[in-house]
Symmetry: C2
Subunit: 355 residues, 2 copies
DNA sequence: TTTAGCACTCTATTGCTTTGACTGCTAACA
DNA sequence: TGTTAGCAGTCAAAGCAATAGAGTGCTAAA
């Protein structure tokens, strides 16, 4: 397998995957000959196909059928796509559509990811997902405020460096003086401000109690709330769009396969595990087949979007093994660029989310 | 059809639906005879079935097949279930499970609905949904606060009578004095406090501008934010659980039907339209068939849960026409009771959502 | 009114045959 | 030595006929 393929074998293998991607049917020697290699006869191609089969690139579903690409064939095919000509794959309408949708709804970062997932799925017609790591544990708490309300309630405000704010009403005994609340707020701020959420997670109950003697009741509420905030936000945000589109492809006409696929894809944890598994340093990953991707009869293409060197999240597409790799990579590439640029400017001014 | 059925016809019709629900196969006269009416012969039952067919209750898929219930048969069957013996349908384990799950996670109201949907789906093994109307337009704004933060930002707090709080950071020019913000907050409060969201929706831009001359910049931000809040919260919250379970039933082995079902059920607006269509005064509704339910080959059972006379939301189950009506009704009934009681106490103390 | 018995109908299953899409092989050719 | 044409062989899929089985409706008798 380490042996280099002859130029003609490459041509034939590429043609075969191309044809298989567009038709989904086993590809015959005649197909390849008529559409890709009219200069040689089908018999010659047959001989080459035989060789490629021996090399493990392709196989026959049965003796009298054409050939179907195997994992290695897809890998070969994907490797042959280089980013430069991939970006030409999108039509003007498509880039226009992507740009338009992307910038039309520049809301909070969560909306952005969701929107991106939607766009990807719309343009590619495959199931897409976006995992947003920005809610990760290393968010720093900027400021905590305790605001008294009517009726013996108060609100805790948490401002983080990522521009996120959490709030929840807590009880304060009616007879507590406003000054008490104010002081409590100041103490809270002193304890938490500047810390990351990861650090707070490890806070030892005892250690804290010393620091804020006498505010125990309020403090307990706030700590509980913080824990809740942590548990909600420390798991990555996962957006899946177009899950049903998979059912349009012949690979998933079987109801059991469809069910298995849908149940994986609708489990956010499973999705995030699948996606975040791979190496962050690689910008694009393509995984084909069950062992690689975790889902049967599927291929997954992911792109990491970064700001500077830090991976902010990943976007990807999950589709049939014979999916339109060129197009998907083009779309992801385009999205990635826009994402990085928008995120980049956003992080500098985390609260500027509307113009 | 207005004519009363003979006692034996009723017995036979009931038996037929029972059998069909448990097997999903056309029911033959012999089936009914052996399991429900051994005292008469199958020939007699055949004669009765003939009559019931003429009355439009049942039909034969083809001449040499058994009978299958039609809409009217299901309706008859459902009518024969009375609440009192329905509640006996649940086993001790089941009630224990429901109660346990329900009270274990008494978080915010949203969580409660979601949890309820999950429980219903788990116990019945059908797809369930809960529509929560508590986010409706007639939420009153209790208090609005404007809190200055560092770095030229401020936060708007909206406290409603339903205990909900929305927040978002807005920009304030760095050079604005804290007193200015404070005054702005007071003005905002004066304008909005006590109003319902519905009323605010109709606010005329001009009318307001008069009132708060000079705070235009801040006010615009707040108004935009309020609009966003309204658009997010005025649509009802819909939770769907166990959508994939439908694929386990033979009715939905066909991939196209499955797709159609899933696409309806994953469109929250469509779901909420289906559910909220019917009369609020009726506690239970059962709708069978496409014309009734909006989804093909399905039956929908909904229960309205109320606090006092006000409908707070609806919970329901969507399943095959031949679903286990008794069990579903029992479960919904049980949930309804717990829901009403929990909600009742919650509304009195809207902020008490943790003990 | 009920029942037993029987003829009839229609689906589902099975096995068989035909068709057609490909291939692999071989022998001739450049 | 590589390429090609031609042909025999293979196999899935489609079509078809025969059979089995499930269940009914009808009729005549109890």
């Amino acid at each position: 397998m380490s042996k280099e393929l002859s130029e003609r074998k490459k041509k034939i293998l590429h043609a075969l995957v191309d044809l298989y991607i567009s038709t989904g049917q086993p590809v015959s020697s005649a197909d390849i000959q008529s559409k890709y290699l009219p200069e040689v006869s089908s018999a010659t191609i047959r001989a080459e196909l035989s060789a490629l089969e021996a090399l493990g690139y392709i196989e026959q579903p049965h003796t009298s059928a054409g050939r179907v690409p195997l994992k290695d064939a897809y890998k070969f095919y994907v490797d042959s796509i280089d980013g430069s000509n991939a970006s030409n794959m999108l039509t003007d309408q498509e880039t226009e559509f992507i740009r338009g949708s992307f910038f039309s709804r520049l809301g909070q970062i969560e909306d952005l990811s969701k929107e991106a997932a939607k766009i990807i799925s719309d343009v590619t017609n495959y199931t897409s997902f976006v995992v947003d790591k920005s809610g990760d544990g290393n968010v720093t708490i900027d400021e905590i405020k305790l605001i008294p309300l009517k009726r013996g309630k108060a609100v805790v405000l948490i401002v983080t460096d990522k521009g996120m704010i959490a709030d929840k009403a807590i009880d304060v005994k009616e007879d507590v003086k406003p000054e008490y609340i104010e002081t409590a707020g100041k103490v809270l701020n002193k304890v938490f401000a500047g810390k990351t959420i990861d650090e707070i997670k490890e806070f030892d109950q005892k250690e804290i109690e010393q620091e804020i003697q006498g505010f125990k009741d309020i403090f307990d509420e706030v700590l509980g709330m913080l824990r809740m905030y942590i548990s909600e936000h420390s798991s990555d945000n996962v957006f899946v769009e177009g899950a049903l589109k998979m059912l349009d492809y012949p690979e998933y006409q079987n109801i059991d396969d469809a069910k298995q696929f849908l149940s994986v894809i609708s489990d956010k944890d499973a999705v995030s595990e699948i996606i975040l598994g791979d190496d962050d340093s690689i910008e694009f990953t393509v995984r084909i087949g069950k062992e690689d991707s975790g889902v049967d009869k599927c291929a997954i293409i992911t792109a990491a979007y970064k700001v500077g060197d830090e991976v902010q999240g990943k976007a990807g597409v999950i589709g049939p093994e014979r999916m339109d790799y060129k197009k998907v990579i083009s779309v992801l590439d385009y999205i990635k660029k826009m994402f990085s640029s928008v995120l980049g400017s956003k992080l500098l001014n985390p609260f500027d989310d509307e113009e």
